[in-house]
């Protein structure tokens, strides 16, 4: 990887196996224990077979950072990741409201918000996924792009699209 390039976690939902090893890797790394609801990447399964790994997509306009009245959120210049200052964060939830995908969520036991920090440039979730050959989450060398903003969608919206892709007409009856 060249020094000035940026990374992004590409996501291909139809390849998600639902193994949740991304959640396990994320929380072992960040929390020192396995904790699905405290994971910065959460796999939603509103319909079995339609598994949606839900994590920050680093929108180029960072609506969450803009919305924070406490300057608790900032952008890491090197990785483009949103960094949460847990001291400043009040868990007010304004960043969640601002996110078109409702991706940030409050730590179940602490008083701050959880947002993917790209593990400082070495995302553990994508590593677990690519090691297993699934490549649903995959680290790509890619400059920030307005197209990344498109991935900030709610689990419900994503489920609807992916279900139709997998199940065709039948999808309607399952949602």
């Amino acid at each position: 990887m060249s020094k000035n390039s940026k990374i992004w976690i590409s996501r291909d939902y139809t390849r998600c196996t639902g193994c949740r090893r991304c959640e396990i890797a994320c929380t072992l790394h960040h929390e020192g224990q396995i904790w699905p609801e405290a994971s910065r990447v959460r796999v939603f399964m509103l319909v079995p077979g339609v598994e949606i790994p839900h994590l920050c997509t680093q929108c180029t306009d960072y609506p969450c950072v803009e919305a924070c009245p406490f300057e608790a959120l900032s952008v890491n210049e090197e990785t483009s990741a949103v960094i949460v200052n847990s001291e400043k964060c009040t868990a007010c939830g304004l960043c969640i409201k601002a996110c078109p995908g409702k991706i940030p969520h409050i730590h179940p036991k602490e008083n701050y918000v959880l947002i993917c920090d790209l593990c400082g440039g070495d995302p553990q979730c994508a590593k677990a996924c690519t090691e297993a050959g699934y490549n649903c989450l995959r680290v790509v060398e890619e400059a920030p792009s307005i197209s990344h903003n498109l991935f900030a969608r709610t689990p419900e919206e994503l489920t609807k699209d992916v279900a139709e892709n997998l199940f065709g007409e039948k999808a309607e009856e399952l949602i």
């Binding site: 396995i34 904790w35 409702k102 969520h105």
Partner: protein, 621 residues
């Protein structure tokens, strides 16, 4: 600290709606671990003294839903469903994969004991400390896919409101039953996700008898802490390396076997086991893969093998059918054993069986049993309200399944009692002995691996001496080698991950998670045997409707002694003398007397005084 355990169990009486918290002492947990083992102990404590009088479908029976300390840590999360089985009248530890056990442990509970019977249909919702019994009248009678969709949606909406401070939370996980379970069909399963079933044991019928449609759970906490976190982390990675190297099972799941077990090992049920050989490439794994699998790797929490596949039929007569894989067992039982050799039709039947809430193995066995009786002219069109059964007749077989699930008509109601019980009744009504066509061991329909060619992993006493009867996941060869299954079902994680060996990681995991010093040797000589003896006592006491007579009933189905009529092993059969010899050896090694009853000296040495006393009721003075 009890590493790997949340430390408490929910005790719910549906008759009076009372919900209490139960703590299990550490010395009991160390002996019985969880799942199948702990379940057997709890059942014996509460019902052992009057076991043979307890009707498995009465409010008196217990439904146990238990995790184990390794659930969530060792790859492939499962949950164990147990209780007094309405199939064997003994105890079967029936496990099913999915995220339910994770949500339960993250809520702070190791398991749930359900007793009594609700007045009207209900479901249980566990959300951390908050536990409620809620009405399920609006989903009662509905197919499983519809029920799961409705319940997931309504509970998710409620959870989002309840946890609004957190943003949106993930959906709850569920275990649930379909119409077959509601109607107490003895081959009804307890299911998770799609077609993931705790099939053996008939616990779907137990849930139905309690008016319990489903249990949903959503936990916001972490998995319980472990004794040695760094070591557990390393073991997770170590096992992962092993798992990721198993390319064949990862790529195909067990889906290649539908062709191979027939064509190669000649041990696949064909037309109710009248044959065990076929060479039909139309049900090859490739046909499922290329045409129907929309996800080639599908798995459950923490699994690096993902032997599940997601199948969807997008065109043709079976359009709209959705199921997992199907795995080998369902390929065989809903395919060749019904004279069906079309991959699309097998997916359709798998999807339907799941929707109705059947176990694919046990329910599939009954469909074939009925079809053979029709073939022989014993069951007629008149008996079946005009239904014309026949091998390969997919529509008629689908209709048969629907009618049995709803006990809709005289013979459908009889068939809902399971292959063995139906065989007894039909023999009586028709004056013909139909037991030779009933392929079961002690009331449990046999898994899809025959013993006649002796080329499969199943041999002479595998089913005959198992305390779980026909269950192909818990077979025995000798008193020590098969203890790994009992361990997996008690520590509660997926057995498929052990295929190809686990290099002793199982016990290392247990020590690192719990901090106990349990070794493989201690398990195989003592701890595992305790569980087997309790299960054996339950099986022998049986009742109240049917009882097993050892050593007579420690045997294979009659069909397994008929010579194979076709294929490369034509003429082969199970050697009856070898079965008898191995059986005597097994009794001796495990500590049962010549009648197959656990010896007092053996039980007392293991501290099982209560079991010993209860067995006096069937010992001859």
């Amino acid at each position: 600290m009890l590493g790997g355990y949340a430390g408490k169990i929910l005790d719910i009486d549906l008759t009076d709606g009372k919900i209490t918290e139960l703590k299990i002492e550490e010395n009991v947990l160390r002996q019985y671990i969880g799942g199948r083992g702990l379940g057997a102990r709890i059942l014996w404590d509460r019902l052992g003294s009057r076991w043979e009088k307890v009707d498995p479908l009465s409010p008196e029976n217990l439904l146990l839903v238990l995790t184990g300390p390794l659930t969530g840590y060792f790859h492939g999360a499962r949950i164990c469903i147990t209780g007094k089985s309405p199939q064997s009248n003994g105890i079967i530890g029936s496990t099913v994969s999915g995220e339910f056990p994770i949500e339960l442990k993250c809520s702070g509970w190791d398991g749930i004991i359900v007793s009594g019977r609700a007045e009207k249909p209900v479901y249980i919702l566990v959300n951390d400390e908050n536990v409620e019994i809620k009405s399920a009248e609006h989903v009662w009678g509905k197919t499983t896919k519809t029920s799961l969709r409705m319940l997931t949606k309504e509970v998710k909406e409620e959870l989002d409101k309840r946890h609004a401070r957190l943003g949106i939370v993930k959906e709850p996980a569920a275990i649930y039953i379909g119409p077959a379970g509601e109607n107490r069909v003895r081959s009804a399963a307890v299911e998770q996700k799609w077609s993931h079933a705790a099939g053996y044991g008939g616990y779907g019928a137990v849930m139905g008898s309690k008016n319990l449609k489903a249990i949903l759970a959503k936990g916001t906490g972490p998995l319980p802490p472990v004794a040695r976190p760094e070591e557990v982390k390393q073991l997770i990675q170590e096992y992962e390396r092993l798992a990721l190297s198993r390319d064949r099972i990862r790529r195909w799941g067990t889906g290649y076997s539908g062709y191979e077990v027939g064509a190669k090992t000649s041990s696949e049920p064909v037309r109710n086991w009248q044959e065990e050989w076929h060479d039909k490439k139309t049900i090859g794994g490739d046909r499922f893969d290329l045409r129907y699998w929309v996800k080639r790797y599908w798995g459950d929490y923490g699994c690096a093998i993902t032997c599940m596949k997601l199948a969807t039929v997008k065109a043709g007569p079976y359009k709209g059918a959705i199921t997992d894989n199907p795995d080998y067992e369902l390929e065989a039982y809903l395919g060749p054993n019904l004279g069906i050799f079309d991959a699309g039709a097998i997916i359709y039947l798998s999807s339907l069986i799941e929707d109705l809430g059947f176990s694919g193995i046990n329910g599939g066995n009954i469909l074939a049993f009925a079809t053979e009786l029709y073939q022989r002219g014993i069951l007629t069109k008149d008996d079946l309200d005009g239904l014309e059964l026949g091998w390969g007749n997919v529509d008629a077989i689908a209709e048969l399944a629907k009618r049995i699930a709803r006990r809709d008509g005289k013979y459908f109601d009889i068939l809902a009692e399971g292959t063995y019980r139906a065989a007894l009744k039909i023999s009586e009504l028709k004056g013909v002995n139909v037991l030779p066509y009933a392929v079961h061991v002690k009331g449990v329909e046999v898994g899809a691996h025959g013993t006649r060619s002796d080329e499969d992993y199943t041999h002479d006493i595998c089913y005959a001496c198992s305390v779980q009867g026909g269950d192909h996941t818990s077979t025995v060869n000798d008193a020590y080698g098969d203890m790994l299954t009992v361990f997996q079902d008690s520590a509660v994680y997926c057995a498929v991950i052990a295929w190809g060996g686990t290099e002793g990681l199982d016990w290392k995991f247990l020590r690192a998670v719990t901090g106990w010093d349990i070794t493989e040797e201690e398990w195989k000589r003592e701890l595992g045997h305790r569980i087997i003896h309790i299960q054996r006592a339950a099986e022998l006491l049986g009742g109240p409707d049917v009882r097993w007579k050892p050593p007579k009933d420690d045997d294979n189905p009659p069909r397994f002694y008929e010579p194979l009529p076709s294929g490369p092993f034509k003429g082969s059969t199970t050697d009856k003398e070898e079965v008898e010899r191995r059986k005597r050896e097994y009794y001796e090694a495990i500590g049962w007397d010549k009648n197959g009853i656990p010896k007092p000296s053996v039980l007392r040495k293991l501290g099982l005084y209560d079991v010993d006393k209860d067995l006096d009721r069937i010992r001859k003075p």
